[in-house]
Amino acid sequence: MSCLLRGLFQLISSRIGQAILLAVFLLVPPAIRHVEPTDYEPGIGYSSEAQSTRNTSAIARLFGELRTSMSDILFIKTERYMHSGVAYTKSLSDEGESESSTVIRTPEEDWRGFIGDLEREVKPWMDPKNHAEHSSSTEVLPWFRLMTLVNPHRIRGYRIGAFILMTSGVPDAVTQARDYISEGIRNNPENHELQFMMVRMIQHQLMTLERQEGSRSSPSYKALLEKALEYAHRGADLGGKARPPEGWQGKGRPAEMEDSFIGCLHYEIFFLRRLERNDEALRLAEQYLREFGSDPVLENEVRELRAGTPFAPE
């Protein structure tokens, strides 16, 4: 023990030791620059079942919004904004579950009397028997911006934020949404969901362009189509590498990942057909069916391509 302490003392106090420490200090931090141990896909806790259990667990409720991280808290805030500031206890529960209650109790359930009445008056509250009042989604956008600034690997933040931005009706909405997703792709180059989101944005732009020009043959339309194909191909490639053999199973986040991946496969074939690269589309559709199992849309595409049916615009 005393030898070790003497050694440590020599290291921090001798000139040679200090020179070594200086070299270590200058060289080691840049070496861990690309080690991101906090960037991972959680195995527990992000599915909607998990979030529902947390929300309905009595003990977990005691801890309120101190659930996982700052980014999660911001995500919960967006929900609250969507409901005009009213906090619902089962706001994250499974889809299709109709019963929900507000965090502030209803007068019938509230034993606090005057205090309860006061709280319902001064805080945002509405009777849960009435349908939740959804406010303008643009109010939520700053929360999404902050969420992805705090955690640039928050995929859902980029995806949902971009969708709300795209449909918000603000001037230049699609361009802004594309910029936002581009930032997400720069921060998460290995994620297929953001590639799919970009495909959806470009698809939206393609439809607008088609309406404006009245045809699908203009050079700008074709250039945009090529770009969309590039993203769909990259999404299919990245998703194919990350996907477990049986696919992402479960509701919520796994379902979103699976849907995005399948979406990339479909769009890649559609875009190839629109570009009249039918041989390539057929080869790829058959390859995907072999690699990832049966899929009614891809099977239909293969049938049509083999029969030489022209691509029907959707």
Partner: protein, 267 residues
């Protein structure tokens, strides 16, 4: 001190460490930490007795318990390390010490060792209590014991780095400011560097800011207990070793710098 140390066979470093230990027990800071941890354990044991043992709820409570154990250990480490030297200077107990043939580096090393060990003990006791509370479910399906084994040494190394950062800060700034900065770096450093880097990404200064941020202690890369409770896969051994080397290297670099500042300081 050295003669006493020699006669008693105890290193001056350990004697210096003992002063910090005595101060921690005298101030009874650990009572506050015990109360906070006790509150968590009260709810957690209550949840177990009430049969609230669904996997997802247990994962959340396990996460909270381990986070609380590491956060309380960090608070104890930071406060002990930041107060260690200024307190001795203020109470003028350092002067008789320095009159003896004891190197300042030995005193510094003792303070660092005691602050770090206090944090380790706190983390160990509270961590074990948390795990024991959920022992029937530990680890949950999907949680990797390899990740758990990887996160413990990194957490201990983070406390060592925090102790050396605290000592260094205390030689540059007043104790309260040092505690604020140390606490901010430990609990919010990762968050703020993310924020800064995203905001400055397109600026001409981004490269410089990025380089500068690398030299701040990266506690968020060392505190990985949430990665375990979230059921994420373990790190590769290469990454893990790199993080461990980083934490040890920067800890001693900070201690070396603190020693240089302490040596040159006129008392």
């Amino acid at each position: 001190m050295n003669s006493h140390a020699q006669s008693s066979g105890i290193s001056p470093v350990l004697l210096s460490a003992r002063v910090v230990w005595l101060e921690i027990t005298r101030r009874e800071q650990y009572f506050a930490l015990l109360i906070l941890m006790g509150l968590y354990l009260f709810f957690a044991v209550g949840a177990r007795l009430a049969g609230n043992t669904q996997a997802e709820a247990v994962a959340l409570l396990l996460n909270m318990g381990l986070w609380l154990a590491s956060a309380l250990a960090a608070v104890l480490t930071l406060i002990s390390s930041v107060r260690a030297l200024p307190m001795e200077m203020e109470m003028q107990t350092l002067y008789p010490l320095l009159a003896k043939p004891v190197a300042r580096g030995e005193i510094l090393l003792g303070k660092w060792l005691a602050s770090m060990l206090a944090g380790w003990l706190c983390f160990g006791v509270f961590g074990i209590l948390t795990v024991l509370t959920w022992t029937a479910q530990f680890p949950l399906p999907g949680q990797s014991m390899q990740m758990f084994a990887q996160s413990i040494p990194l957490q201990l190394a983070a406390l060592g780095l925090l102790a050396s950062s605290g000592l260094l800060l205390s030689l540059l700034l007043p104790p309260s400011v040092s505690i604020l900065i140390g606490g901010f770096l430990y609990f919010g450093g990762g968050l703020v560097s993310n924020l800064l880097m995203t905001l400055m990404r397109d600026s001409r200064l981004s490269l410089w800011i990025d380089a500068l941020l690398q030299y701040l202690p990266q506690f968020s890369k060392l505190c990985l207990l949430q990665r375990f409770t979230d059921g994420a896969p373990p790190l590769s051994w290469g990454e893990w070793s790199l993080l461990l080397i980083y934490s040890i290297g920067v800890t001693f670099a900070f201690l070396g710098l603190a020693n240089r500042l302490f040596d040159r300081r006129s008392l």
